[in-house]
């Protein structure tokens, strides 16, 4: 087979649109999407990857860079790595999945090294692989994706999935926002790798992450899991976007008057910062970093220093105001429920990877620091790519399938009331940003927020189809709204505190709730409970 045979085929299409026929469509081009695309292509699939932004700069990793849960294959080291996080995650992890992520991350990191990623070498001559510079990593992943024969559509947000008569997912369509036309990809399998939902909070690199993949998947009936673990907040200078938190481990946090905020810390004391921010401004100074540490910090995270160097603040000697920006499911753990080792969802033909998928299997109810998300993105991406390619291969002829569009909200002509995306986004933000609603949860406050969000959904569903220019923003705000409702409905269903989910009215962990909360639905949001011990994941066919 020549490389050309393995490329997606461009089909004839009406004016104002382009159409492709592919085996696998990957939606989203961050680490999860690019690993999925490369893996599917290496298994012989013809692959299209569509990204809302530019594959290589778009998404949380490209802008931020990540620590990676990379552990040498020494049984004792691996055991420590797995055990050390179980308490924090509320004992919801699954050992078998942790082990397979560590294995896959090790192998993928080897490939990155072979592809030329410039891993640093320590004083003993060892290549150090537990950190990836975002721009460097994602520039390399774009190159490898192209070299694998994948057709990349940049600035091409997916808006809705396509389904066949049996309800199996069979492609997607969206916009080419710089060409002002539409795209359609007919595909035998689809991987959702659209990242998490950070609610347009301007946390670093995340304004493209509005939960679009969740909405599209929900419209074909997919389920979610662990959506209550969706209240990650990250520290940044109050005026800035750089929510990189590692270095705040060397910070002292203080009130306006200079006195220290009791219990405040980046790790294990972030809630004290949130409580203090409810009273007034909070300041930080990285005064515990000595000269050597300061030098290593500058070498390791150049972007951390941009807000300081460009405002003339010396963060090691001067106090600067900080805030906590909501990262939702980006550094939370909730997402699409996956049902087997190949990262299939509960809908035939639909796979999920990275932040779009639940990370409960390796993180339980807590991430944020510890590098699990990055390891998960590459591992789940690799598996979803293989899984989707395998599924596509065993499917019979599909050319004659009749496909229907699954998009609902913002697509339907309903009333004469216009769809107002910006106003809707603001409604959602007002319910999910406040620390007193989302960080510190309680039944009556959650119920109040949910009632308002449910009303907003009824309203948005009854609104007219969005205009061509507003369609992307309308779908984004609807996706944020849907996400917030799975979050809070799941949060109400967990009447205890566990992982990052913190209930003021149930401050303790309850042994009887060591289970997962499944959720789903659009007009009617539902939740259900799955036991942890019985959570059986079938071996993949691959």
């Amino acid at each position: 087979m020549t490389t050309n045979d393995r490329r997606a085929e461009r089909l004839a299409a009406p004016d104002g649109s382009v159409e492709f026929d592919a085996d696998v469509l990957v939606i989203g081009g961050g680490p999860a999407g690019t690993w999925a695309a490369v893996s599917a292509a290496e298994r012989g699939a013809r692959v299209v990857l569509a990204d809302k932004g530019f594959c290589g700069t778009s998404g949380a990793t490209a802008a931020a860079g990540t620590g990676v849960w990379f552990v040498d294959p020494d049984p004792a080291l691996r055991e420590t790595a797995m055990a050390s996080r179980e308490k924090m995650g509320g004992y919801l992890q699954d050992r078998r999945w942790m082990a397979r992520v560590l294995d896959q991350t090790y192998q993928d990191s080897d490939r990155l090294a072979a592809w030329g990623y410039p891993y640093p070498v320590d004083d003993s001559g060892k290549s150090q692989r537990n950190s990836l510079q975002g721009p460097e990593y994602m520039r390399l992943m774009r190159k490898r994706t192209k070299q694998a024969g994948v057709t990349i559509l940049d600035h091409s947000p997916a808006l809705e999935l396509l389904v066949d008569d049996d309800g199996a997912v069979a492609g997607a369509s969206g916009l080419r926002r710089q060409k002002h036309d539409r795209w359609t990809v007919r595909a035998r399998a689809v991987v959702i790798a659209t990242g998490g939902c950070a609610f347009l909070s301007k946390t670093l690199g995340s304004n493209v992450l509005t939960g679009d993949g969740y909405l599209m998947a929900a419209e074909v009936g997919a389920e979610f899991s662990s959506m209550e673990f969706s209240n990650a907040y990250a520290i940044s200078p109050a005026f800035g976007s750089v929510t990189k938190t590692l270095f705040y481990g060397w910070a002292t946090f203080s009130y306006e008057d200079g006195s220290v905020v009791p219990g405040a810390a980046s790790k294990g004391g972030r809630s004290a910062i949130a409580r203090a921010l409810l009273q007034g401004p909070v300041y930080a100074r990285l005064d515990m970093a000595d000269d050597d540490v300061q030098r290593d910090m500058r070498a390791s995270q150049p972007n951390f220093f941009l807000p300081f160097d460009r405002t003339g603040i010396d963060p090691f000697s001067e106090r600067f105001p900080v805030t906590l920006r909501l990262e939702g499911t980006v550094r939370g753990t909730g997402g699409l429920r996956i049902v087997d080792d190949s990262c299939a969802t509960s809908v035939p033909g639909l796979y999920a990877a990275g932040d779009a998928a639940t990370r409960e299997l390796i993180c339980g109810g807590f991430t944020g620091g510890g590098s699990h998300n990055a390891a998960w993105a590459m591992s789940s991406g690799t598996w979803a790519g293989w899984g989707a390619a395998g599924y596509a291969r065993q499917l019979g002829p599909t050319r004659q399938r009749r496909l229907a569009s699954a998009g609902s909200v913002a697509f339907r002509s309903r009333s004469n009331r216009p769809f107002e995306p910006a106003a809707l986004a603001k409604v959602v933000q007002d319910e999910v940003y406040p620390y007193e609603l989302n960080y510190f949860r309680d039944a009556s406050r959650l119920e109040g927020a949910l009632a308002r969000l449910d009303a907003a959904w009824a309203d948005a569903s009854a609104a007219d189809a969005a205009s061509k220019d507003d369609l992307l923003r309308a779908r984004e705000s609807a996706a944020m709204l849907a996400t917030s409702r799975w979050m809070y409905r799941s949060a109400l269903a967990r009447t205890e505190s566990r992982g990052m989910h913190r209930r003021d009215d149930y401050p303790d962990q309850d042994v009887r709730q060591r289970h997962y909360v499944t959720s789903g639905g659009l007009d009617d949001v539902w939740t259900a409970v799955r036991s942890h011990a019985d959570a059986v994941y079938a071996e993949a066919a691959e």
Binding site: F54, T57, N207, F239, L246, A299, Q301, P302, L306, R310
Partner: protein, 106 residues
């Protein structure tokens, strides 16, 4: 947010238009324009990809900060992020000096 395209340095290559994840710039017959500044997510990536160091992203995420290009040229700001990550010929060695492994677990 993105504040400056330096018309003296810009060669109209349109790379920034392509790489900006939130589609902030528009192509023109000449130098691109900042068409949707309020969509800027302050990720600094356009600066990294501009081969002429003609872009400047102010560090304020939520507020505008009109910046004087002539004054800015007197500083080392243009291209400073690109140099720091080792994406210029003179600074290539910086690509492999990540010391995170010494800082994790603090």
């Amino acid at each position: 947010m993105i504040e400056v395209i330096d018309a003296e340095r810009c060669t109209s290559c349109d790379i920034c238009v392509n790489v900006c994840p939130t589609n902030v710039f528009d192509k023109t017959d000449g130098i691109p324009v900042i068409a949707r500044q309020s969509d800027c997510q302050t990720c600094f990536l356009c600066e990294l990809y501009c081969p002429e160091d003609a872009l400047y992203v102010a560090p304020y995420a939520d507020t505008r900060c009109p910046t004087d290009v002539v004054a800015l040229r007197q500083t080392a700001a243009f291209g400073s992020y690109r140099r720091a990550v080792g994406w210029t010929d003179e600074t290539r060695d910086l690509r492999g000096i990540d010391r995170s492994y010494l800082l994790f677990g603090h």
